[in-house]
C-alpha cells in the first residue's frame, strides 16, 4: 500500500464498474451492477437510496464485510495502490479494517457486545491499533470518551452496554471507530434507529470529529434531511447503480435524473397543503433478473422509449455533477421538470440573489428545503 500524503480534495478511493452478486436459493442476485465513483480526501459523501438499492452492500465492499454467499463479479476498488476487491485473506484485510477504514452501524442496541464493559471494547481497539497498554490505553479511552461527549469517563469505563441509552451507545460506537484513527469513516445509517433530538447530537459529533481528525466520511442514509445536514457531495443509488452524483446544491437544486426528481418530490416538506402527497408508483425491479435499459424506466412517469432498451451512460452536467439518464443526451426531447422541483429551483435562485455569490456548502440546501415547505 502506498503511504504518500494525499492532499485534501484529491481522489482517495477510485471505484470502477464494481459488480457484486449474491447466490440465493440457486439463483444469482445482482446487487451491484457496475458502480463507478471517486471518493475525495477530506470530503463528506452521502449515499442515498431506498431500502434494497444496494447502499450497504456497496460500502461493505470497502471493508470486505459482506455475507459469505456474496462475491465481487467485476470491477475494482483502488485505494492507495491496493485493489480492495482482490483482498481475500484476513491478514490482507487487517491492514484496512479499523486502521484505515472504520465503520459505524445502524443499530446501536445490537452493535456492542452485551457481556463486556464498554471500556474494554474501546480499549480493545486502542490496544490493537495504537499499541498502547494498561494505563496508557485507559487514558486514551478516556480521551475518546471525552471526544464523543460522554462525561465522567472513569465511571463509564466500567459500565456495560445495557446501562447506556441508544444515543450514548452510538457515541461509544463512534469512539470505537475513532480509536483506530482511521482515514475513512463509513457511517451506515447512523441515526436511523435514534429519535430526532439525539439524531442532531450524533450528527453534530460526527461533523466535529471529521474536522478534528481530518476524516473522509461516507454516510449511508435514506433521509434527505441528514444529507442536507452533513454532506458535501451526494450520490443517489437506485437498483444497484449510481444514477446521479454531484455536490449537495447541484443535486438538490438542479437534479437531472427522473429518480432524483421523484425522491425530492416525495419529501413531505414540499407538499402543498390540501393536495395529495407525491409518492413513486410501483416497486424497485427484481434484481434476480437482468435489467434492460434504465432501471427506473418502468416507474418513470415520463419515460423515453430508449430508457427501456439501453442503459444510459453518465452524462456530465458540470465537472462535479453527473447523471445517468438519456434526458441529458442531445438527441432527447426536453422533458419538463415536475412542479415540486421547479419550486425548489426557484427558492434556490432567490437565495442565490439574496446572499450574492456566497453559495457554498450545505447551508443553502437546508434552509431552502425548510423554506420550500408550505
Amino acid at each position: 500500500m502506498e503511504d504518500n500524503d494525499i492532499q485534501k480534495g484529491e481522489t482517495l478511493i477510485s471505484i470502477k464498474d464494481l459488480a457484486f452478486d449474491f447466490t440465493l436459493r440457486g439463483q444469482t442476485l445482482h446487487a451491484l451492477r457496475g458502480i463507478s465513483l471517486d471518493i475525495k480526501k477530506g470530503e463528506s459523501l452521502a449515499i442515498v437510496g431506498e431500502s434494497g438499492s444496494g447502499k450497504s452492500v456497496f460500502v461493505s465492499n470497502l471493508m470486505g464485510l459482506n455475507a459469505q454467499n456474496g462475491h465481487v463479479s467485476g470491477g475494482s476498488i483502488m485505494y492507495r495502490g491496493l485493489d480492495l476487491t482482490k483482498l481475500t485473506t484476513e491478514k490482507e484485510w487487517s491492514e484496512i479494517r479499523g486502521r484505515r477504514i472504520a465503520m459505524i452501524m445502524q443499530d446501536p442496541m445490537t452493535s456492542l457486545n452485551p457481556l463486556k464493559t464498554i471500556g474494554w471494547q474501546i480499549s480493545e481497539a486502542v490496544e490493537m491499533h495504537r499499541g498502547l497498554n494498561g494505563e496508557a490505553a485507559k487514558k486514551a479511552v478516556y480521551e475518546l470518551l471525552g471526544d464523543v461527549g460522554i462525561s465522567n469517563p472513569e465511571r463509564r469505563y466500567k459500565q456495560y452496554p445495557y446501562e447506556f441509552s441508544g444515543g450514548m451507545r452510538q457515541r461509544v460506537v463512534i469512539a470505537i471507530a475513532l480509536a483506530c484513527k482511521p482515514e475513512i469513516l463509513i457511517c451506515d445509517e447512523p441515526t436511523t434507529a435514534l429519535d430526532v433530538t439525539i439524531q442532531a447530537q450524533i450528527l453534530g459529533i460526527l461533523k466535529r470529529l471529521q474536522e478534528k481528525y481530518e476524516l473522509t466520511s461516507i454516510y449511508i442514509t435514506h433521509d434527505l434531511g441528514v444529507v442536507a445536514d452533513v454532506a458535501d457531495r451526494v450520490a443517489v443509488m437506485y437498483a444497484g447503480d449510481i444514477v446521479e452524483v454531484g455536490t449537495c446544491n447541484e443535486v438538490f437544486y438542479d437534479p437531472q435524473h427522473p429518480y432524483t426528481w421523484a425522491l425530492l418530490s416525495s419529501l413531505p416538506q414540499l407538499g402543498i397543503k390540501g393536495e395529495q402527497l407525491y409518492s413513486i408508483e410501483g416497486t424497485p425491479p427484481n434484481l434476480f433478473y437482468e435489467v434492460h435499459g434504465d432501471a427506473f424506466a418502468s416507474r418513470n412517469p415520463h419515460p423515453l422509449k430508449i430508457d427501456f432498451v439501453k442503459c444510459p451512460p453518465m452524462f456530465e452536467v458540470t465537472p462535479t455533477h453527473f447523471a445517468r439518464t438519456w434526458l441529458l443526451d442531445p438527441r432527447s426531447p426536453g422533458v419538463e421538470k415536475p412542479e415540486h422541483i421547479k419550486r425548489l429551483n426557484e427558492k434556490y435562485q432567490e437565495l442565490m440573489k439574496k446572499n450574492g455569490e456566497s453559495v457554498s456548502g450545505q447551508e443553502p440546501a437546508r434552509t431552502a428545503l425548510e423554506g420550500a415547505a408550505i
Binding site: 479494517r97 486502521r99 452501524m105 443499530d107 445490537t110
Partner: protein, 345 residues
C-alpha cells in the same frame, strides 16, 4: 433436532419465569430468583416422591420376602402388616416422609438382609460420584473445544472439523447408548488389552467406563456449543468487531466463544442426568461397585425396599440437578439480573 425442541422448551421456560418476576436493581434479583427456584424445587421434589412411592406400592410383593414360596398366606399377611404395607396409602407416604427426614431409607430385605439401605448406598455412592464427576469434566474438556472447532470450521473451505464433528455427533446420538457402551467395552478391551472388569486400584480399568460415560456428553456439548457459536457469530456486534479490525481468532475466542458459553450452561443439568442414567448400565457392565450397579442388582434380585430407596434417591438427585442448572443460568445470564433496563433508550 431433539435439540430444537429442548432449546425451545428451555428458553421459553426461562423467559416465562423471567417475565413473571418483578425486577429491581442489583444482586437482589438473582437471589430472589434463586430462592424462588429452590422453593419450587422442594415442592416438586415432594410431589415426585409421593408419586414414586404410590407407584412403588404396586411392586410385586415377592420382592419383600426372602423365601416367598415357602411362606403360607397368613405368614405373608403378617409380614406385610409388619412392614406397614397394609395401611392406607396416605399413611404409608406420610410415614416414609418422616423416615426420609431422618435419613432412613428403609431396610434391605434381600441384598443384605437387615442392613440399613442408607448405609448400603452410602458405601457405594462415593465411587459413583467420583466416576461421574470425572466423566463430566472430561466431557467439558473434550466437548467444548470440539464444538468451538466445529463452529470455526463452518467458515472455512473444507470444513474439516465441522464434518468430522457432525459424523461423530450423528453416530453417538443416533445409536442408543446401551449399544455403544457394549461395543466400547468389547473392542476397547481387546484393542488396548484392558480388562473388562473394573478394579479400583488398576487405573487402566477406569479408562473405558469413564470414556463410555463421557462420550454422550462430549458430543452433546459440542453440538450445542457449535450451534450457539454459529448463532452468535451472525450477530451485529461481531460485525462491528470485525470492522474494528480484531483478528478472527480473537473474535472467535473473546467474543463468540465467551458469549456462547452463557446459554450452554442450561444444558449441564441435562447432561448430569444423562450421566446418571448411563451409570446404571456402565457400572454393571464393568462390575463397578457403585450406586448404579447397586440398582441393577437390586432389581435383578427383587429387593423392593432397596429398589425403592434408590429410585427415590435418583429422583431427588434429578430434581436437585435441574435446580442447579437453573441457578447457574441465573448467575451466568445477564438478562435475568439486568432485565428492566433492557431496551431503555
Amino acid at each position: 433436532m431433539r435439540a430444537v425442541i429442548e432449546k425451545c422448551n428451555n428458553s421459553s421456560k426461562r423467559l416465562a419465569e423471567i417475565r413473571s418476576i418483578n425486577f429491581s436493581k442489583g444482586q437482589d434479583t438473582v437471589t430472589k430468583y434463586i430462592s424462588k427456584r429452590i422453593l419450587h424445587s422442594l415442592i416438586t421434589l415432594c410431589i415426585v416422591i409421593v408419586i414414586v412411592l404410590a407407584l412403588l406400592r404396586q411392586m410385586p410383593i415377592e420382592g419383600y420376602f426372602n423365601n416367598f414360596d415357602k411362606m403360607s398366606q397368613t405368614q405373608i399377611n403378617v409380614t406385610l402388616k409388619q412392614l406397614g404395607l397394609k395401611d392406607p396409602l396416605p399413611v404409608q407416604v406420610g410415614r416414609y416422609f418422616v423416615q426420609l427426614l431422618h435419613g432412613d431409607f428403609g431396610t434391605s430385605i434381600k441384598y443384605r438382609a437387615g442392613y440399613s439401605n442408607a448405609k448400603i448406598i452410602a458405601q457405594k455412592a462415593p465411587l459413583s460420584i467420583e466416576i461421574g464427576l470425572i466423566s463430566l469434566a472430561i466431557a467439558l474438556i473434550l466437548g467444548l473445544p470440539l464444538g468451538a472447532a466445529m463452529a470455526r470450521s463452518t467458515r472455512s473451505k473444507f470444513k474439516f472439523w465441522d464434518r468430522f464433528g457432525t459424523v461423530l455427533i450423528v453416530i453417538v446420538q443416533a445409536i442408543p447408548s446401551a449399544v455403544y457402551y457394549l461395543l466400547i467395552q468389547l473392542y476397547g478391551s481387546e484393542w488396548f488389552g484392558v480388562s473388562m472388569l473394573f478394579s479400583r486400584s488398576n487405573y487402566a480399568t477406569w479408562i473405558l467406563p469413564i470414556f463410555s460415560l463421557s462420550l454422550g456428553n462430549i458430543v452433546y456439548y459440542a453440538m450445542w456449543l457449535r450451534r450457539f457459536m454459529v448463532d452468535e457469530a451472525n450477530k451485529d456486534y461481531i460485525k462491528l468487531a470485525c470492522a474494528k479490525g480484531v483478528s478472527q481468532k480473537k473474535i472467535w475466542d473473546r467474543h463468540v466463544f465467551r458469549n456462547a458459553i452463557v446459554p450452554l450452561v442450561q444444558y449441564i443439568p441435562n447432561s448430569i442426568l444423562f450421566t446418571l442414567m448411563g451409570s446404571l448400565y456402565v457400572e454393571s457392565l464393568y462390575s463397578i461397585p457403585g450406586m448404579g450397579g447397586l440398582l441393577v442388582q437390586a432389581i435383578k434380585i427383587q429387593d423392593n425396599t432397596l429398589v425403592e430407596a434408590l429410585v427415590v434417591l435418583y429422583s431427588m438427585i434429578s430434581v436437585v440437578g435441574l435446580l442447579l442448572g437453573d441457578i447457574l443460568m441465573a448467575i451466568f445470564d445477564p438478562r435475568i439480573s439486568f432485565t428492566g433496563k433492557e431496551g431503555a433508550r
